[in-house]
């Protein structure tokens, strides 16, 4: 009496598993990989031993039915990809089969999912048209509690200015805390700059074997197991692949003392530490998940060759989408808008980082990497104003004169001259940096040349700066941003006007037939 139903049950499960595997390989494996570890070496979220497929299957059913949008954390990694909804493609039986397969493969040992469970969620959310977000799902279906990675974790915070790891044993801690999360985090300090943290705790090793540890840190850290140093990344530097270190050590079963010394000077901070058993792919994070910043994207600094400029065409913060960044050797940079026909940003120091746009799908706008960023205006560079106090247009279509971006040409030093038309008037717009002796940056000299082929002048105003603008010490001189001086010279009769309660500097122009020129000097 008891045997027969059991056999039927097993047969049923086996059948569902078979279909589920085929469907998984057809519909899911391109991203999640046939081995469940996430395709492209884990660029996509793993399903093997993922807490997302443990326990109540509702979370996974919802993701499959309606898709998933935005950042999510799986294990110790954050992903920001788009999972397309499959509810319209896959039947309840197929989804149940796929999830049953996923939940019983690659080390997962979870109960089967029935078509009825899928049907219930499908009908309860039949009106839903948007994908789920990780945040929503975390509220509705919290991930199962996991054991603390490090037992009895204690943090001690130290204050001091260091360029490399000090001997913390010789120093006096400012504070001591027990970290119940069992994971280390740079945010466990009471300050953002010039501090150190020493963590002590116990690491439980489930079975004897070789274990691989990996450390990445901004700025420096060292890891000790049973008092022996196993990893060190020292000095000042960012979280970056080239500062990542790994080490494989043998460990016996049981608890082992672990200590991590960490210091942060100034700027960005963070520490990532994880380990796995050699020969497996399942990392255990010993550091806190990255939080609001999401995943750490690799840095890909874009730098000009000596004596040259380098360009970067992509989405740049505070510039319209048709943005063109130019980084000049020596640490002078600008971003030109091909929509607005203006220099929207100038800054000094490092140019820009390609990591944001060149990793995964490359969402979002990139900020300049350097300093002294002056936002000269993310609005049209020119406008025909109906009255002197008329508000400045927001869109190029409202400028009152047709804008026509024609491209640019590069000189031998790869420095661009932008070319555009304002109606019939042809404009060249060139910026060249100026350096003093010893290479210190003095200025960016911008020359704008108008060629008016017509017989009547073009009356148009040019936006010179917005936001923080103040009259300077001499005629035609202004301070823009915090400490950048703008000097205006024009061979056309033109008088700059500070308008909009002093927040906007505009140069009314009467561009005469023939050729005329304006010189702008941005000085630091």
């Amino acid at each position: 009496m008891t045997i027969q139903p059991l056999i039927l049950l097993l047969a049923g499960a086996g059948l569902a598993l078979g279909d589920g595997k085929t469907d998984y390989n057809t519909y899911c494996a391109a991203c999640h990989a046939p081995d469940g570890l996430g395709a492209s070496n884990g660029t996509f979220p793993p399903l093997a031993e993922s807490p997302w497929v443990v326990g109540d299957p509702s979370r996974a059913i919802k993701v499959v039915l309606h898709g998933l949008h935005g950042p999510v954390t799986v294990g110790d990694k954050t992903f920001n990809l788009e999972m397309p909804p499959q509810g319209a493609v896959l039947k309840d039986e197929q989804i149940a089969g796929i999830l049953t397969y996923v939940r019983s493969s690659w080390g997962n040992k979870q109960a089967a999912v029935s078509p009825g469970e899928v049907a219930a969620i499908r009908s309860a959310f039949s009106k839903r048209e948007t994908a789920w977000t990780g945040e929503e799902l975390d509220k509705l279906h919290p991930l199962p509690e996991t054991k603390p990675a490090i037992k009895h974790l204690i943090s001690r915070v130290y204050h001091g200015e260091w360029q490399k790891l000090p001997d913390f044993q010789a120093l006096q801690a400012k504070s001591i805390e027990e970290e119940h999360t069992g994971r280390i985090s740079a945010s466990q300090s009471d300050r953002k700059n010039n501090y150190g943290i020493v963590w002590d705790g116990e690491l439980t090793i489930p079975e004897a074997g070789n274990y691989v540890f990996e450390l990445q840190v901004d700025d420096g850290a060292a890891v000790y197991i049973e008092g022996q140093e196993i990893l060190r990344v020292d000095g000042i530097g960012p979280l970056a692949a080239d500062r990542s270190r790994t080490k494989t050590i043998p460990l016996t079963q049981g608890d082992h003392k672990i200590r991590i010394d960490y210091f942060e000077a100034t700027g960005e901070e963070g520490i990532f530490l994880r380990f796995r058993k050699d020969g497996t792919k399942n990392w255990v994070a010993l550091s806190e998940k990255p939080t609001s910043q999401g995943k750490v994207t690799p840095r890909i600094p874009i730098t000009p060759n000596p004596g040259e400029a380098v360009m970067y065409r992509n989405f740049i913060e505070d510039v319209s989408p048709r943005a063109i960044g130019v980084g000049y050797d020596g640490g002078v940079n600008l971003a030109f808008s091909a929509d607005n026909l203006n220099v929207s940003l100038i800054w000094t120091g490092a140019f820009i980082d390609g990591g944001k746009h060149w990793t995964d799908r490359g969402q979002g706008n990139q900020k300049p990497s350097g300093e002294n960023v002056v936002r000269l205006g993310n609005v049209p560079g020119y406008a025909k104003l109906s009255a002197p106090d008329a508000s400045w247009p927001k869109m190029p279509q409202e400028a009152g004169v047709p804008f026509h971006f024609r491209g640019y040409r590069l000189n031998k030093a790869q420095q661009p001259t932008f070319l555009y038309h304002l109606g019939e008037v042809e404009v060249t717009d060139e910026s060249i940096p100026e350096f003093g002796e010893g290479g210190q940056k003095l200025a960016l000299n911008r020359t704008i040349t108008f060629t008016n082929p017509g017989s009547s002048p073009l009356e148009v105003s040019m936006l010179l700066a917005q936001g923080k603008v103040m009259a300077g010490s001499s005629t035609g001189s202004y301070v823009v941003g915090d400490n950048t001086t703008l000097v205006i010279e024009a061979d056309v009769a033109a008088q700059p006007v500070l308008r909009d309660s002093g927040k906007q500097l505009v140069l009314p122009l009467s561009i005469q037939p023939g050729t005329s020129k304006i010189s702008l000097k941005y000085q630091w």
Partner: protein
């Protein structure tokens, strides 16, 4: 012992080794410049057997030696830096012309130092808001010299920027003219042998499955998200009526005269999951027996599919077959050197996974002159289909209707993402008549369903030399049944 041996020998003689792609086509990776990330997004053929390659990071490189017998000797020179994700590039009159996200740009090296120094904007002005999915795929020039740019929807779902979901035509004088609506998420754009324009569109809202679509000037391609921009242009007439949700293409195309249905649907997961670049075979037999057919890249499955098209009652339709596979990353551009018969492909799996596990690849495929046994063409007839094979068939097997099986289905035409296969039916092959030369088989089929994909499995068919089909399956989209 003796009887066992006999049985084994018997098995060996009936099943000759199944054919493999490598018996006919030689696929080779072309070495890339070391330490560079070469996520190939565009390929353009240049004079003197140079090949220009653009990357998703926006670099343009020129490769010499890509045709050579010793690929280790290839030389690479960087021509331009950090453009905005160029998708579509061609060479014309001494310049490379490429489509970046914001514009179509002409790159010229005026001083012959090997670096582009003029970047002339030929056309721009379509909406772009900084969304990562607002891709722009540019075509080579059409008969009039116009470049067509297929604009992906914002986030591949909505049209938050002007003319998202439209195809724009950039004329030689720099005009940018809205020329077709209803696109969703293009993966490539190119011409058929007759010079008509096609693009691939990916499964999603209003696309039950991915497909190859005929980008007929003035047409509506099925996704109404961008139709609000008819208010901003009178270039292609008034706004079409909106399609009804959860309907069928066959029903809605009668309501919406501008709606051109997909020419060839690529059934999701069975054929591929993300079709990409398109190129027609005009090589006159230099790349095998598929003269005038289309080769279509596939990003997720790292493949190239083959398409034969025909025009029936004014609409394009036809069949898709599996063709080449095993590429090292997800394919994006596909280009054929028609003189040399060399196919160049490239791709990347950044952001979207692929079967090929490398982050990026650049490869060539050449034909070795041996004819694979394939269904060369599948054409619709009033009462069935006509199959043309690349080699004579075994008439006895190919003349038996039992050697074929068919299924048909369509997709729900809906705003939801994708669709299951619905309205399934089993068309019946009643008769199979083999031509005298053994190259053509006329299938008489009952139960054809207009609008459905008709799937044909011919795995039992053998060549007159007892060879198996390299790819025995075909998927024919029957928009129209010829009279």
């Amino acid at each position: 012992m003796k009887s066992l041996f006999v049985i084994l020998a018997g098995i060996t003689s009936v099943s000759a080794a199944p054919p493999a792609q490598s018996d006919y086509y030689i696929r080779e990776e072309i070495p890339l410049p070391p330490n560079e990330v070469m996520e190939v997004s565009s390929i353009a053929l240049m004079p003197d057997q140079k090949v220009a390659v653009a990357t998703r990071r926006g670099d343009v490189w020129i490769c010499e030696g890509a045709y050579g017998s010793d690929l280790s000797k290839v030389k690479w020179n960087r021509f331009a830096h950090n453009l905005h994700e160029p998708l579509g590039m061609f060479y014309k009159d001494g310049a490379l012309i490429l489509t970046q996200r914001p514009e179509v740009t002409r790159l010229v090296d005026t001083d012959n130092d090997g670096l582009a120094d003029v970047f002339e904007t030929l056309g721009s002005g379509w909406g772009i808001k900084g969304d990562y999915h607002e891709y722009a795929f540019g075509s080579p020039p059409d008969k009039n010299g116009d470049i067509w740019v297929a604009l992906c929807l914002t986030g591949s779902m909505v049209a938050e920027s002007q003319f998202r979901g439209w195809a724009m035509r950039v004329t030689p004088s720099g005009e940018v003219i809205p020329s077709a609506s209803g696109l969703r998420s293009p993966g490539g754009i190119g011409y058929n042998a007759e010079g008509d324009l096609f693009f691939t569109d990916n499964q999603g809202p209003w696309n039950g499955s991915s497909s190859l679509k005929w980008l007929k000037p003035g047409s509506f391609q099925g996704n109404p998200s961008g139709n609000k921009y008819y208010a901003d242009t009178d270039a292609i007439g008034p706004r079409p009526v909106d399609p009804n949700d959860k309907s069928r293409i066959m029903i809605e195309r009668k309501r919406i005269p501008q709606f051109v249905p997909p020419a060839v649907i690529f059934p999701h997961a069975k054929v591929g999951q993300s079709p990409s670049g398109i190129v027609a075979d005009l090589s006159n037999g230099k790349f095998g027996p598929f003269e005038k057919q289309l080769y279509v890249g596939e990003q997720t499955h790292s493949q190239v599919q083959r398409v034969c098209l025909e025009k029936v009652n004014g609409l394009y339709q036809g069949a898709v077959f599996h063709f080449l596979e095993g590429f090292e990353a997800g394919l994006i551009p596909v280009t054929l050197d028609q003189e040399e018969g060399t196919l160049f492909v490239g791709g990347s799996n950044r952001g979207w996974g692929s079967r090929g596990s490398k982050a990026f690849t650049f490869e060539r495929v050449r034909w070795n002159g041996k004819i694979p046994f394939e269904i060369k063409e599948m054409k619709a007839k009033p009462d069935g289909f006509e199959l043309t094979f690349t080699k004579p068939v075994d008439s006895k097997i190919a003349g038996d209707p039992q050697s074929y099986s068919m299924k048909s289905w369509t997709y729900i035409y809906q705003s939801a993402y994708g669709s299951p296969e619905v309205d399934e039916s089993v068309p019946k092959v009643e008769a199979a008549t083999v031509s005298e030369d053994g190259l053509t088989v006329r299938l008489k089929v009952t139960g054809l369903v207009q609008g459905n994909v008709h799937y044909l499995d011919a795995k039992n068919v053998r060549s007159s030399e007892n060879g198996q089909l390299l790819h025995p399956e075909a998927w024919y989209t029957l928009n129209e049944i010829p009279k």
